[in-house]
């Protein structure tokens, strides 16, 4: 009789395509294979569903049938490492870069990065937003303070129109023609706990990158204005403040 350890190893291999584990049977033993296939199907189907729930736009872009086949390849190569399935899929964007059948969709890995950032933002730690007066009070020290951003905030820079692609492939939206171009987006969880995706102009993107790097506020604004002379830091700061994305003021920033 195999030990439990040996038996589970065989069962696990059986799920991923090896033969029926020794000892698996049924009242009618001829049906053992067909019945064991229920477990095979449950595991692969549930993982496919879980991946599609985390990457719905990728799934829509490639179609459900293609996505299911691709998810099975991904699940075998990168199975979840914990029961916290919401956190599964960190390797998916990189997988898409290397998966030859989607080589014709060069924007797909960055769309997956955007969706991954949204998933992480949804579950990110809570943090109390700064009271509005705090920023006004600190404005005189703009050369020395850095702003702490909410743990959900992520900046994604792409050579492709990831915002247009993402927004055009939401449920109920009929995607129109999209002219590909570089786009940068900010993902964050707002005060309503929703996770919007903001398309940023070049100055806004430079500003957010500097904020995330904990650069002093003034230096961040200067960097952004160098990129885009039209950039208005106050507008973006107000928007971040309204969303609850500013959570702390750090003194003596370098």
């Amino acid at each position: 009789m195999p030990s439990h350890e040996t038996f589970l190893s065989a069962f696990r291999s059986g799920i991923f395509g090896a033969g029926l584990p020794v000892g698996v049977t049924a009242r009618n033993p001829d049906e053992a294979e067909r019945r064991f296939a229920v477990y095979r199907n449950n595991v692969l189907h549930s993982l496919t569903e879980a991946l599609a729930a985390r990457f719905p736009v990728v799934a829509r872009l490639v179609g459900a049938e293609f996505f299911a086949a691709m998810a099975r390849v991904f699940a075998e190569a990168h199975p979840p490492e914990s029961p916290m399935l919401f956190d599964w899929g960190g390797a998916f964007p990189g997988f898409l870069e290397e998966f030859p059948p989607v080589a014709g969709l060069p924007y797909l890995p960055d769309v997956a990065r955007l969706e991954r950032a949204r998933g992480r933002a949804y579950h990110a730690a809570d943090a109390e937003p700064l009271p509005p007066a705090a920023l006004a009070e600190a404005a005189g020290r703009a050369d020395r303070i850095a702003l702490g951003l909410h743990p959900s905030v992520a900046l994604i820079t792409s050579g492709h129109a990831i915002h247009a692609i993402w927004a055009g492939n939401q449920p109920g939206v009929t995607p129109g023609p999209i002219s590909d171009r570089p786009e940068t987006v900010l993902v964050l969880r707002d005060r309503t706990l929703e996770v919007p995706v903001w398309r940023l102009g070049p100055g806004e993107a430079a500003f957010c990158a500097a904020l995330l790097a904990r650069r002093p506020l003034l230096a961040a604004a200067e960097a952004a204005l160098t990129t885009d002379p039209q950039f208005a830091p106050q507008e973006l700061l107000a928007r971040l403040q309204r969303a609850g994305a500013l959570i702390s003021i750090e003194e003596d920033a370098q």
């Binding site: 049906e31 914990s82 399935l85 990110a124």
Partner: protein, 285 residues
């Protein structure tokens, strides 16, 4: 831990949150899958905190792999403990199943042979869970599609032994009983007659799907439909023997609008009420 009320409860689905907050339905409790609330913050915790303020809570784990061969994951136990400390649920339950072998999580409740070796292993794991979490846990009977040549202990006896040796309670999933017994061409009433009902502290009821094999039906524990009539009949028979118990309607796939779930809970509640009134009448007589 205080106890769950002996009333009907529902599995909580986030898409029903607004409905629940607006209507505050009269329900005994809500049950959540623990793993969905192991993120750091955001909407899941905001919803669970609001729900918990109004209702008794059952925390139901799906990822501990109590039937696994390589020991429990201490990190996962620590996450469960943190959830229990934060939300103080009235019940914590897990499955007689495995879902991890090595580093992978397979996202299904997989079956195990019932042998002296696995009995000792499961008892050891249940002891560790109860020790680490500081609570008495409930262990749920599985739905199964295959049998194992190496099994030497009937499932009901296996569960009874685990409950006796560890002091844990049992969660009786009546749909799982029906699914397994139909699949193995055995009599669910005989299974329930042998089940150690004295240890049961919660009931699960869910829907199943049906496929056809050459030898007859193969039922799949889909949690994607109404509870089937034969399962309701078995449930009423169990409750007639045990008296009212906390009874959960599970519906995890193809989740319908909230009123559909509520109607299922009302059906369970009516059975509980009928038995409860019968008991009171008997007590008076």
């Amino acid at each position: 831990m205080t106890r769950l009320p002996a009333d009907a409860g529902l599995g909580f689905k986030p898409e029903h949150f607004a409905d629940i907050r607006a209507s505050r339905p009269d329900l005994g409790f809500f049950e959540v899958h623990a793993e969905n609330y192991m993120g750091a913050g955001g909407a899941p915790h905001a919803m669970l905190a609001a729900l918990r303020a109004d209702y008794a809570l059952s925390l139901h784990g799906v990822g501990l792999s109590i039937g696994g061969a390589r020991g429990l994951d201490p990190a996962h136990l620590a996450r469960l403990r943190a959830l229990i400390e934060r939300y103080q649920p009235e019940s914590f339950s897990e499955h007689l199943a495995w879902s991890s072998h090595g580093a992978d999580y397979l996202n299904d409740l997989l079956p195990l042979p019932y042998t002296p070796e696995t009995l000792a292993l499961v008892c050891d794991h249940v002891d560790q869970v109860q020790e680490a979490l500081g609570v008495r846990m409930l262990l749920e009977n599985p739905s199964t599609y295959v049998l194992f040549e190496q099994s030497t202990i009937p499932e009901t006896e296996f569960l009874d032994e685990v409950a006796r040796r560890t002091g844990c309670g049992l969660l009786l999933d009546v749909n799982n009983v029906f699914v397994s017994c139909v699949n193995h061409r055995t009599d669910p009433r005989a299974y329930l007659a042998a089940f150690p009902l004295a240890h049961v502290a919660e009931i699960h009821l869910g829907g199943h799907a049906e496929e056809e094999l050459p030898s007859g039906p193969l039922l799949i524990d889909s949690h994607g439909a109404e509870v089937a009539d034969p399962v309701w009949a078995l449930y009423a028979e169990v409750i007639a023997r045990t008296g009212p118990l906390p009874s959960l309607i599970e519906w995890d796939n193809d989740v319908p609008a909230f009123p559909v779930l509520l109607a299922e809970a009302r059906r369970a509640q009516a059975i509980l009420r009928a038995v409860g009134e019968g008991e009171r009448t008997n007590a008076v007589a």
